[in-house]
């Protein structure tokens, strides 16, 4: 039992601080940019994702010995999509204002790489309880990230926090930060700050968790897949080419 508590603590710490999806791993950039126009939207999106992530991690971990290796990813997607649909109904029924604010980004949780990433790298290999808390930890980490970015953009862009106006009247808020370009700028400075911190930590010789640099090629799952596609293509093209060459020789 004591051991379990230890694992739970470790998972929560890992998700919220050590491998924070927003600040350290840079995962799920689409919702990060889109919904952080205000603090409350960011937190709402984060908590919605947390619920989906926890439930999908739980179910995938329970089914990890039943799902055949070959149809792994499609089955994960079906599980995630089902939970997203459920959560969407709950939001429509109980929090319609949040549902309207997040709009299309709720069904798009399905393609959020945090969820499939955790299913693939953690839940499909570990027992149920650690997987559940892995989901909770990662989800809360995402919530903290989105909430912080949302608060930053709301304070600078609208001069308010949680809808309460805090700027003195003589000070005009920077409207741009709240709009689409501002989202890109804020994220750019966040990544730059992160690069700076990582570089100084590397100099000290500490181990640094590498981020997904929003470059799909850098993710291991993607790069393996693309490599295998390229390799199999090369073989087939070589075959086709040699066949055509043979035909020409015959002629």
């Amino acid at each position: 039992m004591n051991n379990n508590v230890q694992i739970i603590k470790e998972r929560l710490f890992n998700g919220i601080i050590k491998e924070n999806p927003t600040f350290v791993m840079m995962l799920g950039m689409c919702p990060t940019l889109a919904v952080t126009t205000s603090c409350i939207n960011g937190i709402g999106m984060g908590l919605t994702t947390t619920v989906v992530l926890t439930l999908s991690n739980m179910l995938i971990s329970l089914m990890r010995n039943i799902i055949p290796e070959k149809v792994r990813v499609p089955s994960f997607i079906v599980v995630v999509a089902s939970f997203v649909t459920l959560v969407q109904f709950m939001l429509e029924a109980y929090l319609p204002s949040l549902n309207d604010a997040l709009g299309i980004y709720i069904p798009l949780i399905v393609v959020n790489c945090i969820i499939l990433g955790r299913a693939e790298s953690y839940a499909s290999k570990n027992p149920v309880i650690p997987s559940i808390f892995d989901g909770v930890g990662m989800g809360l980490g995402f919530t903290v990230g989105l909430g912080a970015l949302g608060a930053f953009r709301e304070i600078l862009g609208a001069g308010s926090i949680f809808g309460i106006y805090i700027f003195p009247e003589s000070l005009e808020p920077i409207r741009l930060i709240g709009l689409a370009p501002g989202a890109f700028f804020v994220l750019a400075f966040l990544v730059a700050a992160q690069n700076k911190i990582k570089a100084s930590r590397k100099e000290k010789g500490e181990v640094v968790v590498e981020a997904c640099t929003s470059d799909c090629g850098s993710c291991k799952t993607c790069i393996d897949r693309v490599k295998s596609v390229i390799a199999s293509d090369k073989e087939e093209f070589a075959k086709v080419a040699s066949k055509e060459a043979e035909k020409k020789e015959e002629n």
């Binding site: 069904p107 798009l108 890109f184 990544v191």
Partner: protein, 191 residues
């Protein structure tokens, strides 16, 4: 006709899928190093999104709507898109090897491109007709292509610039994208 043109321009320019809706950011940043690969990715996206818009529209109104199971939208659409991408890959491989060798590498990456699912869901939530859906899909995909090709062009030029150490890589791309988003917000007065 004017109505369709309006939808296409709104989708491509005013509500640009990457720069104002933030969908499909991964390929936007990941595959924009060279203009040529960016154009390839853009072509693949145009191909897939247009077909996906048509297909999801048919499936929604002919199957889901008739059986009163519209709530399965998300699950059905994501599976449909994944299957479609695989299918397109196989068809291209058999029918048109040159086109496949140009687009092939990008096709598996498109399954996880949230723009495809995003367009399919928008088509349904805005209750577009079949033709409008296809036009909206095509417009959105063209908008994506325009954005990614421009970004790739800028990045090729930026290779020779002296960028501060911490801003190398993703941050400078995001800053560029932000400036592009500012330029694109100028289209807001177009319609």
């Amino acid at each position: 006709m004017a109505d369709l043109l309006k939808i296409a321009i709104a989708a491509a320019m005013i509500n640009n899928v990457v720069l104002s809706q933030f969908l499909g950011l991964c390929p936007f940043i990941g595959v924009s190093k060279k203009t040529k690969t960016a154009a390839g990715m853009g072509a693949a996206v145009i191909f897939v999104i247009t077909i996906a818009s048509a297909l999801t529209h048919i499936v929604y109104y002919q199957i889901l709507d008739r059986l009163n199971i519209e709530y399965l939208e998300t699950i059905v659409f994501i599976l449909l898109i994944a299957a479609l991408v695989q299918f397109v890959e196989m068809v291209l491989k058999k029918m048109s090897p040159p086109l496949y060798s140009a687009l092939g590498v990008y096709l598996p990456l498109i399954t996880t491109n949230c723009a495809v699912l995003g367009v399919a869901i928008t088509n349904i939530s805005d209750s577009y007709t079949f033709v409008q859906s296809v036009v909206n899909g095509l417009g959105t995909a063209i908008g994506f292509t325009i954005a990614i090709v421009i970004l790739a062009g800028l990045r090729e030029k930026m290779e020779y610039n002296d960028v501060p150490e911490s801003f190398k890589g993703t941050p400078i791309i995001l800053l560029t994208a932000g400036l592009m988003a500012m330029a694109f917000s100028g289209f807001a007065g177009l319609l």
